[in-house]
């Protein structure tokens, strides 16, 4: 079956190349909308995420404008509610996941020596349904108002009684169908990584990014369907008069919290594990050393994937579960820090004694290491139930998870994009602009989210649209808003760099970073069929073996 598919794909790839040659906007559009090439689908995923990143960013700026002064009323409570709902939803479902799935889509087949993903048509389906899910969610604005439920949509706010617009229905449907796309992507990654690796690439010889995508996909398989089921329940409640979360008729708001967080907590690991993988590709190359403790890193990834499925209710300490449950979930959450710590020390050990180059990917990897560490530490604080009783639903929590998602996910993703952009386009990004991008983002980021911890400790609850001047929160909010304004140009610089480097960038050649994994053996950009002949692999660094036939890695592994 696999061979049949492959020959079909080669034919298609050939015709796609012919389309490109004849050029013209209509042909290009036809080519991109009908493509099943994992590289084009990957690029579309990333572009979609960047567009939604800008939209979500604008929503954040509007909220920061509203919070700049005490008793400010430029937006008002209803619009503010809609903005934080859509900001959270957008960033998690239509920026975070698709950008990671997109990069994985582009890189995984190249890294494991395959000609495409296992199911190319499923792959295209997954992208389009994710995109349409995003559009559907945003269509809620034209129904009168976007939902005012927050990204975790606590019941009974989602019930018909409390939201008589169709906004919540659009929101639920949008997440539901994009979730189906995510499941498709997860199935595809697992099938590709487990079933289509190049000859000789045993599990112990896979590039590390493949390990993290494998476990991310595993988490998606177990975490997304419960959300899908819960969204179906919302829709049944709203459309058919069912009573799942309808508390007046015996339904349970508590059930929703369990179902949502059973998805929601693995979700944050879905957003960070692929980034661990990207950073684990970047750090060795720019330290000129092999990844330290590869097996332990792989085992730690697996441990995180499993443990994170059993920690969800640490989001619910304040619900009043029971002391036993509080203790269990606090302890389980603290345990996650062990495999994460293993990873951290292995990255440091990889860097230690290396010949470090501070090129843009490594710069962002350092940004990731420093910031993710701090976000991890505030995470440990919040995992302790008594501490969480004090600060749950405060700006401390907002500061914490933005620290992890931007300091961790976003910095790591930028490391990956700076690392692989030359492979994808054949051009180098401007290093000068990259340095500007990095420092503006780094400083702006600390300035935005650092003060949130303080305003949280001072008692400021999340999601309030304004506050009283007597609470002394104004100064910290103003710092936060200024930080957001410092960050903003960094994204503009990044996008400018991405676009202008397409034709102004220095030609990259096949292997600009002197790297070691299979994707760098192809031309930049790679041909649609990826590899002319199936590569054969003997070690974790097949390209090192090619470059150093006198001293290949497989002698030592």
């Amino acid at each position: 079956m696999a061979t049949v598919d492959r020959s079909h794909r080669l034919e298609h790839a050939g015709s796609a190349a012919a389309d490109n040659a004849s050029s013209g906007w209509a042909d290009a559009l036809h080519d991109w909308t009908t493509t099943v090439d994992h590289k084009k689908i990957g690029i579309m995923y990333v572009l979609m995420s960047l567009v939604f990143l800008v939209i979500g960013g604008v929503e954040a700026l509007l909220m920061r404008w509203q919070l700049f002064y005490a008793r400010n009323d430029v937006l008002g409570p209803s619009v503010f509610n809609q903005l934080f709902t859509m900001h959270g939803t957008t960033m998690v479902f239509f920026v975070g996941m698709p950008i990671l799935i997109g990069i994985g889509n582009y890189m995984i087949p190249l890294m494991v020596g395959a000609r495409d993903m296992a199911f190319p048509r499923l792959n295209a389906f997954g992208f389009w349904i994710t995109l349409f899910g995003g559009l559907l969610t945003y269509l809620s604005f034209i129904t009168g108002a976007a939902p005012e439920i927050g990204w975790f949509a606590y019941a009974p706010l989602t019930e018909h009684t409390f939201d008589r617009n169709a906004g919540t229905d659009f929101w639920a449907l949008g997440l539901l169908i994009s979730g189906i796309g995510t499941i498709g992507a997860a199935v595809n990654f697992i099938a590709t990584i487990l079933g289509m690796r190049a000859p000789g690439m045993t599990m112990r010889k896979m590039p590390f990014f493949a390990w993290t995508m494998l476990w991310t996909s595993f988490q998606m398989l177990l975490a997304i369907p419960p959300l899908t089921a819960a969204l179906v329940m919302i829709l049944f409640d709203r459309q058919l008069g069912a009573h799942f979360f309808d508390v007046q008729n015996g339904g349970s708001a508590y059930l929703w919290q369990h179902l949502f967080w059973f998805f929601g907590h693995p979700e944050v690991y879905i957003l960070i594990l692929p980034v661990f993988g990207m950073v684990s590709e970047v750090i060795p190359v720019f330290s000129r050393k092999v990844l330290f403790g590869y097996e332990f890193m792989a085992a730690a990834t697996m441990a995180i994937a499993f443990i994170s499925l059993g920690v969800w209710a640490h989001h619910m300490f304040c619900v009043g579960m029971s002391r036993t449950l509080d203790l269990y979930f606090a302890a389980a959450s603290l345990i996650v820090s062990i495999p994460t710590g293993i990873k951290f020390f292995n990255w440091l050990a990889t860097i230690y004694g290396g010949r470090i180059s501070l090129a843009s990917p490594m710069l962002f990897a350092f940004g990731f290491l420093s910031m993710f560490l701090i976000g991890g530490l505030t995470g440990i604080m919040l995992a302790a139930a008594p501490f969480d009783f004090q600060l749950s639903d405060s700006y401390f929590v907002v500061g914490h998870f933005h620290w992890v998602l931007i300091g961790g996910t976003l910095f790591g993703t930028f490391a990956g994009i700076y690392y692989w952009y030359p492979k994808v386009t054949g051009r180098m990004l401007s290093e000068r602009l990259a340095v500007w991008h990095f420092w503006l983002l780094y400083i702006g980021f600390i300035l935005t989210f650092g003060p949130m911890h303080i305003s949280g400790i001072l008692g400021m609850p999340r999601r309030i649209y304004t506050y009283d001047p007597s609470r002394d929160w104004e100064w910290w909010n103003q710092l936060t808003t200024i930080g957001a304004l410092v960050q903003t140009p960094s994204y503009a610089i990044f996008v400018y760099n991405l676009v202008t480097s397409l034709w102004k960038g220095k030609p990259a050649g096949d292997d600009p970073w002197d790297a070691w994994t299979l994707e760098w053996t192809t031309s930049s950009p790679p041909p649609s069929y990826n590899f002319e002949t199936e590569p054969v692999v003997h070690s974790r660094r097949p390209l090192w073996d090619l470059k150093h036939p006198d001293d290949p890695d497989w002698q030592y592994e």
Binding site: G195, A242, F244
Partner: protein, 206 residues
């Protein structure tokens, strides 16, 4: 520094890996996600069990006899599809087609049984999805299972149609195998539903 070619180390032979094919991994992981989906629906069903203040209750509404019959259909179909697969692997196309058609018929019989049950529940017991928590969770769980049975019947019918045109040969056994994996999965889910919903309902009173 250059070495003569003869002195370069020679890599060890590469042993072929014996594991599932990409297509099999794909179906297996899809089924894992389905397990997570149905587990959620079952958790919701169990959460609300016995919390209703208005009837009908499961013990009043459900017919264990009918459910036992439909369960037998599905279990039998799982056995038969196994033999259908084996027949195809042996190259016995006639037997494959007969056994495969029997599997479809049993799946359709299950759906008919469900249709009959729902008709009775709605018209005689006045149990709808909005009636009470039992109705809400029961119809969602059993409905999604029925939807999966329907999808399986359609997938198997497509295979049968292709087989009738002589397009299903021995080398397609992976495709046939994957459909049968899906079918086994749907049956296993039903056995759990049968135990939790039907046997659970009558357990105390039967």
């Amino acid at each position: 520094m250059t070495y003569p070619a003869a002195e370069l180390p020679i890599p060890p032979e590469i042993a072929p890996e014996r594991t599932l094919s990409a297509a099999q991994w794909g179906m297996a992981s899809f089924l894992v996600s389905e397990v997570a989906f149905f587990s959620t629906l079952i958790v919701a069903y169990v959460t609300f069990l016995g919390r209703d203040t208005v009837g009908p209750t499961p013990a009043q509404a459900l017919s264990l006899k009918l459910a036992f019959g439909t369960t037998l259909c599905l279990v039998a179909s799982s056995v038969i599809i196994h033999f259908a697969e084996a027949a195809l692997r042996r190259g016995n196309h006639a037997a494959f087609k007969v056994l495969w058609a029997m599997t479809i018929a049993l799946g359709a019989a299950f759906l008919l049984g469900t249709a009959f049950e729902w008709h009775d529940l709605i018209t005689r017991q006045e149990l709808t999805i909005s009636r009470n928590l039992f109705g809400t969770t029961f119809y969602t769980l059993v409905g999604f299972h029925g939807l999966h049975v329907t999808a399986g019947v359609i997938a198997m019918s497509i295979v049968l149609l292709l087989a009738a045109r002589g397009a299903v040969a021995k080398e397609h056994d992976t495709a046939v195998q994957l459909v049968s994996w899906y079918w086994h999965f749907v049956d296993v889910v039903w056995i759990v539903v049968f135990l939790v919903v039907y046997v659970g309902a009558k357990g105390g009173t039967a």
